[in-house]
């Protein structure tokens, strides 16, 4: 039994960040009674209930293992908290789900003040299913965005997982370390979608980092992307570039048509959930993907993913 969904949703809506852990427990639960409560929670933080999009900036931070994501996040959390912003991190662990269980160790590498209630770090196991980030991660981010100023989804990988993240977040930051030739290749070959902000870590390495930054910048331009920013940072003492990165993330969000972006994201999420639930057969019952997209486009822009999903399921029946 979990705490009541509607009450938790209300607390999140009032920006009570201490409601977050219990809300996440509920959103992760698959017990039938909890599912009902979770639906009420999500209803309470839906754009319709909020009277607009959730205020939190949802940022995807992704990159290969060892690129320095955790160190970078420690520095970013520090910068955000210093400017009075609350921040939550959903650390999606890659080494997960062997024999069903998982080892979630990533939070250990992110430094923060344990007494500070304005920071939350929650580990989540990556579910082994195709078609995007686990539903639990997505709805968690949605709910947290109602209460926190910044919500980070941290994922590991190059080439696939970051495209999943792109469907859910407002801003994608790809973190690479100097000398990551493979990232360059992935970008050029189009395996990887262009991130909004590209962060080269370990700028203290000097020349190598500067060269990596130049190469990546050139690669992005050759792909015709003038939009993406490339920044070099050093998260280790003496840190450099962190404030600039925080600013670049803010600027990306400010330049975004947030309403349109999130409506698209919710519709893509609903389609994705529908596919996972009902498969290609379900899709055929809707009259194909195009028909499904048309149906979704007819829905209220404020409808959340579960409402959209319900609409699809009604049509299928």
């Amino acid at each position: 039994m979990n705490a009541e969904g509607a009450a938790l949703g209300l607390r999140l809506r009032e920006r009570d960040v201490t409601a977050a852990p219990a809300a996440l427990n509920l959103l992760e639960s698959t017990a039938p009674a909890d599912l009902e409560q979770a639906a009420e929670l999500l209803q309470a933080v839906s754009p319709a209930a909020l009277g607009g999009e959730a205020p939190g900036h949802v940022i995807g931070v992704t990159g290969p293992p060892g690129a320095g994501k955790s160190t970078l996040l420690s520095a970013l959390l520090h910068a955000w908290r210093a400017s009075g912003r609350t921040a939550a991190v959903l650390a999606v662990d890659p080494s997960s789900r062997r024999s069903g269980g998982s080892l979630l160790g990533d939070r250990a590498r992110i430094e923060f003040d344990p007494a500070d209630r304005g920071t939350l770090i929650r580990s989540m196991a990556a579910e082994q299913r195709l078609g995007g980030l686990a539903r639990a991660t997505r709805i968690s981010a949605e709910a947290l965005a109602a209460a926190f100023d910044v919500v980070v989804i941290e994922t590991v990988g190059v080439g696939q997982s970051e495209t999943d993240v792109a469907d859910v977040v407002d801003t994608v930051a790809l973190v690479v370390q100097p000398g990551s030739g493979d990232v360059l290749q992935f970008l050029k070959s189009g395996i990887m979608e262009t991130p909004d902000v590209l962060v080269v870590t370990k700028a203290d390495l000097g020349q190598i980092a500067m060269r990596a930054r130049r190469d990546l910048g050139a690669a992005l331009r050759s792909l015709g992307s003038s939009r993406a920013r490339v920044l070099a940072v050093s998260a280790l003492a003496p840190a450099s570039g962190i404030d600039e990165l925080a600013l670049a993330l803010d600027e990306h969000r400010e330049g975004l048509d947030i309403g349109g972006h999130r409506v698209r994201a919710r519709r893509a999420g609903a389609l994705n959930d529908f596919l996972v639930e009902h498969g290609e057969r379900g899709m055929r019952a809707l009259g194909g993907r195009r028909a499904a997209e048309t149906l979704l486009a007819e829905q209220d822009p404020g409808a959340d993913v579960q409402a959209l999903m319900a609409a699809l399921e009604r049509r299928m029946a």
Partner: protein, 667 residues
């Protein structure tokens, strides 16, 4: 001959040393407490409960002078088990000698100073790998020139075996470690001194109860060492090429059940390092028979010393040339180990050397240890008194009131806190500030021109404290979390027991609505993480979500993790003897955060401490005699299940936690 000793205060340890020297001990082996080993003063939040526990606290030159009071340092051979803060403790020792009128050229002894094994097995690191290696190289360069009789580093494979290393891994990782150290030192010393540096490197190895194979291991290490000296470092002098090692025999194999059996294990292990003259140890330390129960008393230590004396003076072991010369069996065994070790060294080298390969080696050790536990659980590996022949008469040795262990007076910590504050208030603060600023400047210099020993000794003289020296360097170098090795650990091989357990876990999951989630935490400064790692890996293998954050957590950190992660149960591991202070502190922090998930504790917990822990709210206590981890997992499943039945809120720590947190917040 010496015994590893130190506890409570510098003064109490000094008395112990003097007593041991009178009994015929020929050198000192100093055990420092965990705050000193990890670079914190007694009044630091992280030092809580740890001061004077596993060794002596030394915070400044005054403490070192008291520790060595009346002991002639020009005649003493002093071995210090100190690593991350080795440069600092050597500096304090040099200053204490100065105060006795003894110059640094006369000092003899060893600083352990092996940081890689701290990352792999023991956990008392303070700085990231690269600057840690610089400190080591600087110490080597300094001592080779100014303290010529000092062994600046003692490469330890001992702790690797304690962490589960096979003989092949022990050899390969020790040699790879030595290569990393020598390569770093090569940058800091004149080419001509390299031969001397090589000659000053000694090893600290382990010897387990399979003593024939263990002896072969030492022969293999001698061969590899000589080869390395000749081929990689161009050493020609035979004296410098000799593989010099000291031994502490195995503690991992000592049992809490029927602890008297440990005496014969210790004797057999001592044979491994003394039998054949060609690979005989230069120094032997034997653990106390009751080490698995807690901190040994003087009488327990005397018994270990007497074992060595019987071997040396009663038996004929020292009277013959090498008794394995020409043995085909021994030769074949050595060749097999050499082949395996060379292959494993090549893997480490492919990872970029020992520093870069720390995560790889850590994961490999966690894996070996998991396999070892599996063999013991299944009965493939016999441990007398533990998984076979477990029936026993009542032991008169452990029947006395204290349960056979020395207990450190809790007042010691309060006293040390006062003392260090008094010290700070009475010294010349300007001199300290200047010395620390000079240290920071030398450490931050990108060209690393100055040897860090120089400003370190100046800071020791000025009266800086252990915590101040470390904090100054942490601010320049950054802090560091070692790899836990558990993420990479291979999944357990399927067996009937495990799949039954997985069934129980998935039934629990249905009941809870989400996957059972456990937080495995190590409060305090104790870095012995084997137990925690094995619990974490097995919990994963049984299908739970496991949050494991590694070592050195404050109660506040553990409480924050438990709350934010929404765990169903919290497992705390603690081996340093500070459970009496730390476990209640963690529970208090959990309650403060509103977390009501049940707490279990594992570690070296004497029976008589269990009632107090239960009273503080601990649901179950596990000690080394509970070697069957699958059974512990079953208990956890039952505990979480019962807790879920027991009432809505308590089944879900996070949920109830937040209800109360909010209530407080809005009140």
């Amino acid at each position: 001959m010496r015994t590893y000793a130190g506890h409570s205060t510098a003064k109490a340890s000094n008395e112990l040393y003097r007593r041991n020297l009178e009994k015929g001990q020929t050198g000192l082996s100093v055990a420092f407490d965990l705050p000193t080993q990890t670079g914190y003063d007694p009044d630091d939040e992280l030092a809580r409960g740890e001061v004077g526990k596993v060794g002596v606290p030394v915070s400044h030159r005054g403490d070192m002078a008291a520790l060595m009071d009346g002991i002639p340092l020009d005649a003493m051979n002093t071995s210090m088990t100190i690593n991350a803060t080795a440069a600092w403790l050597l500096a304090l020792y040099i200053v204490a000698a100065e105060e006795q009128g003894v110059s640094q050229e006369q000092l003899q002894g060893t600083t352990q100073n092996d940081i890689i094994k701290e990352f792999l097995a023991r956990g008392t690191y303070a700085f990231p790998p690269a600057p840690s290696m610089r400190l080591i190289a600087d110490m080597i360069a300094y001592t080779v020139e100014h303290v010529p009789k000092w062994n600046p580093i003692n490469i330890c494979s001992y702790h690797l075996q304690e962490a589960g290393a096979t003989p092949v891994q022990e050899i390969a990782y020790a040699m790879s470690n030595a290569i990393a150290v020598l390569d770093a030192a090569r940058e800091r010393v004149p080419e001509a001194s390299l031969e001397k540096v090589f000659g000053r490197i000694s090893f600290f190895v382990n010897a387990g109860v399979r003593f024939i194979e263990e002896h072969a291991k030492l022969r293999a290490m001698s061969i590899l060492w000589e080869e390395l000296g000749r081929e990689r470092y161009g050493v020609q002098d035979e004296r410098h090429l000799r593989f010099r090692y000291g031994v502490q025999v195995n503690s991992l194999g000592l049992t809490e059940a029927q602890p008297e059996n440990n005496v014969q294990r210790i004797v057999l292990e001592a044979l491994a390092v003394t039998l054949g003259r060609d690979a005989r140890a230069r120094a032997i330390q034997l653990p106390a028979w009751n080490e698995a129960l807690g901190l040994p008393r003087p009488w327990d230590q005397q018994w270990s010393l007497r074992i060595q004396q019987v071997l040396a003076y009663e038996t004929d072991i020292l009277e013959y040339p090498d008794i394995f010369e020409g043995s085909k069996v021994m030769e074949a065994l050595v060749d097999e180990l050499l082949e395996g070790a060379r292959a494993e060294m090549a893997v480490v080298s492919e990872h970029g050397g020992a520093v870069e390969a720390v995560p790889y080696m850590k994961a490999a050790l966690v894996d070996s240890h998991r396999e070892r536990i599996r063999r013991i659980e299944s009965g493939e590996q016999v441990v007398v008194g533990q998984n076979r022949y477990t029936e026993t008469e009542v032991s008169p040795l452990t029947a006395d009131a204290e349960g056979g262990i020395l207990v450190v007076d809790p007042a010691v910590e309060a006293q040390q806190v006062q003392d260090v504050r008094l010290w700070r208030s009475e010294r010349d603060q300007t001199a300290v500030d200047e010395a620390l600023a000079a240290l920071a400047a030398a450490a931050g210099d990108v060209n690393a021109d100055e040897n860090l020993m120089v400003p370190t000794i100046a800071a020791a003289r000025a009266g800086a404290t252990t915590g101040e020296w470390s904090r100054t360097l942490r601010e320049v170098f950054g802090s560091y979390h070692g790899p836990t090795g558990v993420g990479e650990a291979a999944a357990a091989t399927a067996d009937a027991d495990l799949s039954e357990l997985q069934g129980e876990v998935s039934r629990l999951q249905e009941k809870l609505g989400r996957r059972p989630k456990i937080l495995v935490g190590k409060p305090g400064l104790d870095g012995h993480s084997n137990g925690a790692e094995q619990i974490a890996v097995r919990a994963r293998d049984s299908g739970m979500d496991v949050v494991y954050e590694g070592i050195r957590l404050t109660p506040a950190q553990i409480a924050a993790s438990a709350l934010q992660e929404g765990v169903h149960v919290i497992g705390l591991s603690i081996l340093s003897g500070s459970h009496r202070e730390l476990i209640p502190a963690v529970i208090e922090a959990l309650h403060g955060a509103g977390v009501t998930a049940p707490v279990i504790v594992g570690g070296i917990i004497p029976d008589q401490d269990v009632p107090a822990l239960r009273k503080a709210g601990v649901a179950a206590v596990y000690t080394p005699k509970d070697f069957d981890i699958t059974r512990i997992m079953r208990d956890i499943v039952a505990l979480v299940g019962a807790s879920a039945d027991g009432g809505g809120a308590s089944a879900d720590g996070g949920a109830s936690a937040n209800a109360s947190a909010s209530a407080n917040g809005s009140a």
